[in-house]
């Protein structure tokens, strides 16, 4: 049962990253690829039907943590207090800037909300990367099954670590650059004209940097959390993740070369899903790792709620997953056209 709930937690988180990732990415490259008011409107129109539904996956992830592993939530959330509020405020500002920007014709305020949208998206991409880095590296959980986390200590990933050290920061950079590439790939598939041309350039450049960063982070991970890579290579889901990553990367590359924007976009989402899925496979059964001693790790079996709640939750959760996935499919089916050609957005 713990294995199942851990997989569900991983699934929601991976889906969240793969879905909200492309609209964060669109925000990251927004000021860079879209120059005119029309182009900036086109960027917002491209993510318009998606971003709100995508963010629900974050709430769904929080929900899984709450329903299956409330003790983990109770340990981790207060420890990440300031970082989480920074995330919340960025999410608020980002959602509002999209909404307000859409209703404004005034160029001065449109420019302001473009900047808020791009800034909050960029900060969120970095923060989620830092969070992922913290999960992989571990946090200083002590014998009382609790921890407090400074924003930074000595920037080294051992012992009394902080939120930011050289490892988590490199994961943050990777996530930012990757999401920029991912967002540009999405925008290239949903826009046209000179906007699309600039998206393709941004896609190529940031994907190249992201690939280099990915190699560096993988090597770092080998030293920071040796068990992750070792576990991953011994487990079927780990190899599955690697296969998805390889398939995604080749689809992405061939789609990009052939000018098949949608194929490239599907490839890039598979890359995100593959990396995060493989990482989750390597992390099991640990949800949060302790940098102080392995016996202080918060593990899935020990943290799971008692059997009745876990079983009932599983039943309704699987029932609810069906429409939730249908909505995602419906969203893509309805909104696959390039925004300029879509009569509803004119």
């Amino acid at each position: 049962m713990a294995e199942v709930w851990f997989s569900i937690l991983a699934l929601t988180l991976v889906l969240y990253a793969a879905l909200d990732g492309f609209d964060f990415g669109a925000g990251l490259v927004h000021l860079w690829v879209a120059r005119t008011d029309d182009e900036r409107r086109a960027v917002l129109a491209a993510i318009g039907p998606f971003w709100d539904g995508n963010e629900v996956w974050l709430l769904a992830t929080g929900g899984v943590l709450f329903v299956a592993f409330p003790s983990v939530l109770a340990v981790a959330f207060p420890a990440f207090y300031l970082a989480l509020f920074l995330v919340l405020w960025c999410l608020v500002l980002r959602g509002i800037s999209i909404e307000v920007r859409n209703h404004l014709e005034d160029s001065l305020w449109a420019a302001f909300f473009d900047a808020v949208f791009a800034g909050s998206s960029s900060l969120l991409a970095l923060l989620f990367g830092l969070a992922l880095g913290n999960v992989v590296r571990g946090v200083p959980i002590d014998a009382n099954r609790s921890f407090t986390l400074a924003l930074f200590t000595d920037f080294l990933p051992t012992g009394q670590v902080g939120l930011i050290d050289f490892y988590t920061l490199s994961v943050g950079l990777l996530s930012s650059v990757f999401l920029a590439a991912y967002g540009a790939t999405f925008l290239a598939a949903r826009t046209g004209g000179s906007l699309r041309v600039r998206c393709l350039a941004a896609e190529r450049n940031s994907a190249f940097v992201a690939a280099a960063l990915f190699v560096i982070v993988t090597i770092e991970t080998h030293f920071v959390r040796p068990s992750l890579l070792a576990n991953l290579l011994q487990r079927v889901p780990g190899w599955l993740g690697i296969a998805v990553l390889v398939a995604g990367a080749s689809l992405w590359l061939s789609g990009f070369r052939a000018g098949r924007d949608r194929r490239a976009f599907i490839g890039s989402s598979l890359v995100a899903i593959g990396i995060l899925g493989a990482a989750a496979a390597g992390l099991y059964p640990t949800i949060i790792h302790s940098t102080l001693a392995p016996e202080f790790d918060l593990n899935a079996p020990a943290s799971l709620v008692p059997p009745y709640g876990a079983a009932v939750g599983l039943v309704w959760w699987l029932i609810a997953l069906v429409p939730a996935l249908l909505y995602v499919a419906m969203g893509f089916r309805r909104n696959w056209e390039r925004v300029g050609r879509d009569p509803a957005t004119r």
Binding site: R41, L44, A45, I47, G48, W51, D52, G53, E55, V56, L59, A60, G62, G63, L65, F66, V67, A68, P70, S71, L73, A74, V75, F77, P78, A79, F80, Y81, L82, L84, F85, L91, V92, L93, G95, I96, E99, V100, R101, N102, H103, E105, S146, V305, P306, Y308, G309, V312, G313, W316, W317, A320, L321, P323, A324, Y327, G331, V339, A344, T345
Partner: protein, 449 residues
């Protein structure tokens, strides 16, 4: 302020009161959108214009509700970690149910409702309106079920060896009788809020003499639905809710009424100021026996006063609880009177022309927000000093590893952020009202979320 939970409590209450300003209109307006679109489907083109106008406002309101809702879910973990650890095995279910069943449904169809009219055609557009309305009402139910467990933790749980709660009866949790009563009361109140808002815009147009057809639709639908909802808020739902409080939270009822002495033929206090130190009500105007009748259906039943309870089990802010309850009940009564008068004017054919009434209807829209806020304050202050009534105290629930300094820092952050949000919201809404309900589509690309 020396209480270590003080800033956590203030932050949660501030962010949730602010958040709830938006969903109550979302839920109530959802009903109006279904009504308007239904009438439009039956062939009246004026209702298509009304649907378009209100779905645009709905979209803005929905977006503000979404973004202010995010912090609520997170604060269970960040600020109330010990409570989440204690009760997560039970309330985790309802909170996660909301995300999976309600939020996905709402977010999947809200875009289609606001922007998809042309693409979808009338029938599917009507279906989108129904789906969004259903999603928002479902969302309300899961939140109310969570709150109802905290108010009245009936046999859906057991306490484990580690002192934490776990679920034993899923349907018992979902069908908690307290949840059903609270839901009916709360949801009809949200319809009252939306009725006032729709009516106010109609009254504004009628007073200005613009958009006469739409003014007529807004006024007539608003006061009609408003009267029905305002009556149901008071009776049977409010009445039933009060009886539940009398039965299961007697100390809360005593504090709501500022009642210290126990005894039969208890009087209902209309006006008066509670003096907790002296244990009495100053300048009171009473209705004899009415409290006994309302609480138990007979004047002879004794209603307990606070003197019967240990002071450590008293609600922590009796004065505020007393005023919240009286503001809610007083306003609720006035709403019935105002809507009754408006419906009488409509019957006489004077609704769109009687200017003093239009002025009152136009300016009344803040009061349902005050009433719902006061209602929630009554429920939540009345639950004190418990976080889960009778089981778990608020003083044991906050995150003791988060310093007061951090909690104050984020509270100040929320004050600043929400002030700016409030300005933007008012600006956008007034702009739409000023633009008015017209045939033309509203400007801007389709980037709503």
């Amino acid at each position: 302020m020396t209480d270590p939970s003080f800033w956590h409590r203030l932050q949660f209450s501030f962010t949730i009161v602010y958040h709830y300003l938006f969903p109550q209109l979302t839920m109530g307006l959802g009903v109006f959108l279904v009504i308007f679109k239904w009438r439009a489907l039956r062939g009246n083109a004026d209702y298509d214009i009304a649907t378009r106008f209100w779905s645009h406002l709905f979209g803005i309101n929905f977006a503000f509700g979404v973004v202010t809702g995010f912090p609520m879910e997170f604060q269970f973990g960040t600020n109330w970690a010990r409570f989440s650890n204690y009760a997560g095995g039970v309330i985790g279910q309802t909170l996660a149910l909301e995300g999976m069943f309600a939020f996905f449904l709402e977010s999947a169809f809200v875009y289609a409702l606001v922007w998809g009219e042309r693409k979808l055609g009338p029938r599917k557009h009507f279906a989108a309106a129904v789906a969004v309305c259903a999603g928002s009402w479902l969302s309300g139910y899961f939140i109310i079920a969570t709150n109802a467990f905290m108010q009245h933790p009936i046999a859906a749980y057991q306490t484990g060896a580690d002192g934490r709660l776990s679920l034993t009866d899923f349907w018992g949790l979902l069908l908690n009788p307290w949840a059903l009563a609270e839901y009916a009361h709360n949801m009809t109140a949200s319809v009252v809020t939306a009725s006032f808002v729709v009516t106010a815009v109609g009254a504004f147009y009628a007073l200005k003499g613009i958009h006469p057809e739409q003014a007529r639709i807004f006024l007539r639908t608003g006061v009609g639905v408003g009267l029905a909802a305002a009556v149901v808020v008071a009776f049977p739902t409010g009445d039933h809710q009060a009886k539940l409080v009398a039965r299961y939270q007697p100390a809360s009822l005593a504090a709501m009424e500022g009642r210290f002495e126990s005894g039969p033929r208890a009087a209902l206090t209309f006006i008066g100021q509670p003096d907790v130190q002296e244990r009495r009500i100053d300048n009171a105007i009473h209705a004899p026996m009415l409290l006994s009748i309302l609480a138990y259906g007979t004047p002879n039943r004794s209603v307990q006063g606070l003197n019967d309870f240990d002071e450590k089990d008293w609600p922590t802010n009796i004065e505020l609880l007393y005023y919240s309850f009286h503001v809610m009940a007083g306003l609720g009564t006035m709403f019935i009177a105002l809507f009754a008068l408006a419906n009488f004017a409509r019957y006489k054919g004077a609704l769109e022309r009687w200017r003093p009434l239009l002025w009152v209807l136009m300016l009344a829209f803040p009061f349902p927000y005050i009433a719902t806020t006061a209602g929630w304050m009554t429920a939540e202050l009345g639950r004190q000093p418990w976080l889960v009534y009778g089981l778990f105290r608020t003083a044991d629930g906050f995150s003791d590893s988060v310093s007061s300094g951090n909690a104050l820092f984020t509270l100040i952050g929320f004050c600043g952020l929400y002030f700016v949000l409030g300005l933007l919201y008012v600006f956008l809404i007034l702009r739409d009202i000023d633009h008015g309900p017209t045939q033309a589509r509203h400007g801007g690309a389709a980037v709503h979320g």
